[in-house]
């Protein structure tokens, strides 16, 4: 990168900037796979199963279509030999030939129409099915998988990879047709006149030889072109996402130059790939010419010697002209297949991610819950051998609000994630009303345990839709009521279309505090007995903070609450405080009792910060390393 320039002998040398555009991680996704991957094809075939009948019909239509195409030169041959060159009954035979021709082209038309339509529609349907299957699957895969996977990468599987499979499906039917056509032409030519057929086909080995030399090189060029495309597109996407930073840091000129370099590489790769693609054209044309010349010279001589009907010669000329078309398009199919196999692998990789958390067959789904929570000897972590929570136990009574307090990494967020069964515990159990969360239906947990995340996520759509969210039965009054309770009504009404204002870009046109209030309202409408709340702090200003404190009190009324608290005010208002450190409880009691105890909490409190997040790191560390009096 820049190491060379840094040690450059000449300090006045203009060295390249320490700058790049686009992702620095090379595209680790394989673009082309093997041309045929049995596993992928078999898996893919499962998605075709519901349309098996249609596919069979499509295959039949392909055969009929190809058959019709193959018989047209034969009809012409018949017309020439029997009606035109023959001696008797010319006009009647011609009429018959034309009638047969008409029948053939009608069949051809119908088969063509049916084939294209069936294949096109089924392909489209299967692709939508496949995408839906992936999407539905992703709804239920373990969060640990989602945590590790970028959304952008998943999207490229849901969109790009799915499309290349569609291309494959449509093309494979055409490829089938091409193969049949190829064999049909060979068989017909050999049947019409074996010697002439053999001589004409003698040009084919040359083509195979040339292709063998050409293919590996051409494939490399095509691959390079595709790679530079995705590099360029990555850089463009970065440029768009980072536009505010780019303008703020005045980096436009440098970026444009770097982007220009990448585009130049892309251009070069494409020009080279175009050369490779076109160089085959004169070769195929020369061979076609040679084949026609053979038919003309050999076939023509046979006709002159009255050993061959002139109609056969004409039919040969027709077949020779068509002969190279399927060979040419089969070359294209090859790279389509390679791409599809690579895409298929990635798609099925997603579909193979195990559904870590699924309902037991006898899962309970109670109408209501009391809201008593208990963690019993819970051990849990995200990485093997690195437990975050260590044999943790505590109980929360229905209606009680408990504040979780502790430094970063103490396990607060993990506790909340477990209560919602985002993950399963390693050991121990988590009970709601005395029943293990693993014994509840997922839907039941979703209904009875609501969660407000630190970073409120809103969807594109109206404010109304965002607050209502999953509770689709909620009436407008309920929505407004909820917004009033959390104190969001006022700012909503000040927006241009009130509750119908559409949030653009996931609500980024609202302030963080406003988004937080909306997510409170959403939780309120969901009306769950247990409420888990990761208090948003860093980005909330004191005004909204006060509103949020009030909203919080209202939200927690009559519910069991677990709050990851940052603000002293929140902590003080809780019924009970649990102080965590490295996955263990070190203190738990009411605010006053903890102060009286003069332990870690009291020490932190004494430091006089409004928020625990404001505590300087070194002070926390000192306090933590100091022996805790018990």
């Amino acid at each position: 990168m820049t190491s060379v320039s840094r040690t450059a002998a000449d300090p006045n040398a203009v060295r390249p900037p320490r700058a790049v555009v686009g992702s620095q991680i090379s595209q680790d996704e394989v673009i082309f796979g093997a041309a045929f991957d049995r596993k992928v094809v078999r898996r893919f075939a499962e998605y075709l199963k519901p349309y098996r009948k249609t596919m069979y019909i499509a295959l039949v239509t392909v055969l009929v279509f190809t058959g019709a195409q193959l018989s047209i030169p034969l009809v012409i041959r018949y017309a020439i030999d029997k009606a035109l060159v023959g001696d008797t009954g010319g006009q009647a035979l011609l009429t018959l030939a034309v009638a047969v021709f008409a029948a053939v082209i009608i069949v051809n038309y119908a088969a063509n129409y049916l084939q294209d339509r069936l294949v096109g529609l089924t392909g489209e349907r299967v692709i939508f099915d496949l995408r839906s299957a992936m999407y539905a699957h992703l709804q239920n895969v373990a969060l640990t998988f989602m945590d590790r996977t970028e959304v952008g990468r998943m999207m490229s599987r849901l969109q790009g990879d799915v499309n290349s499979l569609q291309e494959f499906l449509e093309n494979s039917i055409t490829a089938f047709g091409d193969l049949v056509l190829l064999f049909g032409i060979v068989i017909i030519m050999l049947t019409l006149n074996f010697e002439l057929g053999l001589l004409t086909l003698s040009v084919v080995p040359t083509l195979f030889f040339v292709r063998m030399v050409w293919l590996p090189r051409a494939r490399k060029a095509f691959r390079r072109a595709r790679e530079t495309n995705s590099i360029n597109n990555g850089a463009l996407a970065e440029g768009i996402h980072s536009i505010r930073t780019v303008q703020g840091l005045h980096r436009e000129a440098v970026n444009l130059e770097l982007y220009g370099d990448k585009s130049q590489e892309n251009l070069r790769a494409h020009l080279s790939s175009a050369k490779f693609a076109q160089v085959m054209v004169p070769i195929v044309d020369t061979l076609t010419g040679a084949a026609m010349a053979i038919v003309v010279v050999i076939g023509g001589t046979l006709v002159l010697d009255k050993e061959l009907d002139v109609g056969v010669m004409v039919a040969f000329l027709f077949y020779v002209q068509r002969f190279f078309d399927p060979i040419r398009s089969l070359t294209i199919q090859y790279s389509v297949m390679q791409r599809a196999m690579a895409s298929g692998q990635r798609i099925f990789e997603v579909l193979d991610v195990p559904l870590a958390i699924s309902d037991k067959p006898d899962a309970v789904d109670p109408e209501t819950v009391e809201g008593a929570l208990e963690l019993r000897n819970v051990t849990f972590g995200y990485y093997k051998d690195q437990p975050i929570l260590k044999e943790l136990s505590f109980k929360v009574q229905p209606g009680e609000t408990v504040a979780l307090v502790g430094p970063t990494g103490s396990g607060k967020t993990s506790i909340t994630a477990l209560l919602n069964r985002f993950y399963d515990v390693w050991e121990g159990e988590i009970l709601i009303d005395g029943v293990d969360v693993r014994d509840y239906a997922k839907a039941a947990l979703g209904r009875h345990v609501a969660m407000v995340l630190q970073d409120p996520f809103l969807f594109t759509g109206s404010i109304f839709e965002n607050i209502r969210y999953r509770t689709t039965g909620a009436k407008r009054e309920q929505i407004e009521e909820a917004a009033k309770i959390v104190g969001a009504h006022k700012f909503i009404m000040a927006l241009p279309f009130g509750y119908d204002t559409v949030l653009e870009q996931q609500g980024h046109n609202l302030s963080m505090g406003q988004r937080q209030l909306l997510s409170f309202a959403r939780a309120l409408v969901a009306d769950a007995k247990v409420l888990i709340l990761d208090e948003a702090t860093a980005n909330i200003d004191s005004y909204t903070e006060r509103q949020i404190q009030i909203a919080l009190q209202r939200l927690l009324e009559g519910r069991t609450g677990i709050v990851i608290a940052h603000r002293l005010a929140t902590v003080r208002n809780a019924d009970r405080i649990i102080v965590l450190q490295e996955g263990r409880i070190i203190e738990t009691d009411t605010h006053d009792a903890l102060i009286a105890k003069n332990g870690l909490y009291a020490k932190l409190y004494e430091l006089n910060y409004a928020s625990f997040d404001d505590l300087p790191e070194d002070i926390v560390n000192n306090t933590l390393t100091a022996p805790v009096r018990s």
Partner: protein, 633 residues
């Protein structure tokens, strides 16, 4: 159901807002045909701007078509030769054999020449497309970099990426598979028609009889496919957005047990898109197969009428073969016509969308007489500034706000959300332009200063910094890629991130950003501060940029920044009063105007809104304010 009525309303609204946000792009989906013509001619003009290649391509097409058209005649001659017919009369077997050899050599020659000229025109056509794509790609990127924040606020990033990728690709592939292919087809049909009609008028007309039908059919389906393409693209964009949001907000989805709801939302969008996709296929298939059918009907007519003439002795079998093989030559281009039609439809859409962006004039740019900023700035001044974000029905953010910060001084700004604090940060580097009043630097209206000069002296640090997927070094030097090692270390030290970086196994080479190592919010903010410290700005605006950094570290950063930027005018926007209390002056902003102004102590003593906020934020504040109130009483 009750919710259907209430759900419908926002949906209609959503399309209204959609239309509004795209108003800035000057794209109207219901454009009439004359606009199409404009887009088309622009694309053609772009193609013709590459004179040499387009000339070669056209020459190649004409030559390739002529050689191609020689082939049927040669084949016809060969068939006649085989029947012992040369010229008009019967000849000997010997002469027929000579004619066969002659025709065979010519056939070989014509086929080779056709291949070479096809290579020429296809390669030139492809390269015109690629060269054009290269130009457009850079122009698009450059334009996006110039367009102001208000444009980027309104246009979804995914939408722009689509334009830069798919629409550009559409225009590129049009060059060879659309524009030049049509030209080839015209030459083939035109010259072919001349040859055939001059040979036999009736037969020629019959052989070409399918052409008008194909042209009519393609024109009709072009219109339909284009409309379908537009709507399908939109539906697919909606589907993409739903998936993207679902995956991004997966925790919300899971927490609410909203998977069934999300699936239903997806299914509705997916079905809508699928219906359109299916409609598109049906339309396409119906038109392409009808075109092929018309071709075969014409061939049947040629066979019939031609056959009759042969029987009547008015025509030779060779001439009939010539007509039939001529039609074979036309078969492939005619079948491709469907694709070409698609390509035209797609290109007009893509072109409109591409030019829609390229034609935009950045709202914010240099005036003709714009000046450079002087070396040492003394003060930045807001003079009666008013501002509203661009867009219909958006409220005014401020109404006549005035203040001044001079070199070496720090101004603190605080106020409730929506009071316009952050907007102030965006106005100084002209991310947006004021709608009333002016902002001046040393008496010069910032709109009269060169944008490059202004932005090189003003740095704004935002709350949520964007880090690039690149090394820490590249991130820190983002604004000054020519920086030296010492500067980088110095900047890292100022932002108190040097210790952390030194502790990393790869140090400054560690990849960060979306696909690199994950940093905490505070660490990201510190990298962003280092990035700004590199630039040594003369006007520094910190917009809540230390919110995720603990108070102790923040204090040290502030101290270090102050030492480095002794000569800078600093504006700190924060809701954390601890951050602001050392500022020389503090503004309390509410509803777009300054309601309190003074030092921390004077504002606390004033006992107004600032004092109330101070009390709210700390127990110390509570006591101080109480004491101040007691003293006042």
């Amino acid at each position: 159901m009750d919710s259907t009525t209430s759900a419908k309303e926002p949906q209609q609204l959503s399309s209204r807002i959609y239309a509004r946000s795209y108003a800035g792009l000057e794209i109207d989906p219901d454009r009439n045909i004359s606009d199409d013509a404009i887009v088309f001619w622009r694309i053609v003009k772009l193609a013709f701007s590459n004179r040499i290649r387009i000339t070669l391509a056209l020459v190649g097409i004409v030559a390739a078509a002529c050689f191609q058209l020689m082939i049927p005649q040669l084949l016809g001659d060969a068939v006649d030769g085989a029947l012992g017919l040369v010229g008009k009369g019967n000849v000997s077997v010997e002469a027929g054999r000579d004619a066969l050899y002659f025709a065979a050599w010519l056939l070989m020659g014509a086929a080779v020449m056709r291949g070479l000229f096809t290579l020429l025109h296809n390669y030139c056509g492809e390269s015109i497309g690629h060269l054009l794509a290269y130009d457009l790609r850079i122009a698009f990127y450059a334009k996006l970099q110039q367009l102001s924040f208000s444009f980027h606020d309104h246009v979804h990033t995914g939408e722009l990426i689509t334009r830069g990728m798919l629409d550009l690709e559409g225009i590129r592939s049009f060059m060879n598979t659309g524009l030049l292919r049509v030209f080839l087809l015209i030459i083939l049909v035109g010259v072919g028609a001349y040859l055939l009609i001059s040979t036999d008028l009736v037969m020629g007309l019959l052989a070409l009889s399918f052409v008008p039908f194909v042209m009519w059919k393609s024109a009709v389906s072009r219109l339909k496919l284009r409309g379908l393409w537009w709507t399908l693209q939109e539906k697919m964009a909606v589907l993409g957005r739903i998936m993207d949001e679902n995956l991004t907000g997966i925790r919300v989805v899971r927490a609410f047990g909203a998977e069934p709801y999300e699936l239903e939302k997806y299914d509705v969008a997916s079905e809508e898109a699928h219906t359109l996709a299916a409609e598109r296929i049906k339309t396409r298939v119906a038109s392409t197969t009808a075109m092929t059918f018309a071709y075969f009907i014409a061939m049947g007519l040629v066979l019939w009428v031609g056959g009759t003439r042969v029987i009547e002795g008015q025509m030779s079998v060779g001439t009939l073969t010539e007509f039939l093989t001529f039609m074979t030559i036309l078969q492939l281009p005619v079948r491709q016509l469907g694709l070409v039609v698609n390509s035209f439809a797609r290109t007009l859409t893509c072109g409109a969308r591409m030019f829609g962006v390229l034609d935009l004039e950045p709202v914010i740019g240099d005036r003709s007489e714009a000046q450079e900023l002087p070396a040492n700035i003394t003060a930045v001044k807001f003079e009666n500034v008013s501002f509203a974000y661009p867009g219909e029905g958006l409220p005014t953010v401020f109404n006549g706000i005035s203040f001044e910060v001079s070199r070496g001084k720090t101004l603190g700004i605080v106020g409730p959300p929506g009071s316009g604090k952050s907007t102030i940060a965006h106005l100084i580097p002209r991310f947006y332009d004021v709608t009333g009043g002016q902002i001046t630097i040393d008496g010069l209206d910032i709109r009269d200063i060169k944008l490059s000069s202004l932005r090189s002296k003003v740095s704004v640090l935002a709350q949520d910094p964007f880090l690039f997927t690149a090394s820490l070094e590249n991130n820190i030097t983002y604004g000054n890629p020519w920086a030296e090692d010492a500067d980088i270390r110095n900047a890292a030290a100022i932002s108190q991130i040097d210790g952390f970086i030194d502790g990393l196994p790869k140090g400054y080479e560690t990849l960060v950003g979306e696909r690199g190592a994950s940093l905490s919010g505070g660490q990201k903010q510190r990298v962003a501060i280092a990035r700004t410290a590199m630039l040594q700005p003369e006007i520094l605006v910190l917009d809540d940029s230390t919110a995720a950094i603990d108070a102790g570290t923040e204090q040290r950063i502030r101290q270090a920044l102050k030492e480095q930027a002794r000569s800078a005018a600093t504006i700190i926007i924060s809701h954390r009063l601890g951050t602001l209390r050392h500022a020389d002056e503090i503004l309390f902003i509410e509803n777009g105007s300054v309601v309190e102004q003074g030092s921390h102590d004077s504002l606390v003593a004033l006992g107004g809104k600032y004092a109330a906020l101070f009390a709210l934020q700390s127990r110390e504040g509570e006591e101080t304010v109480k004491a101040a109130k007691g003293a006042a009483e």
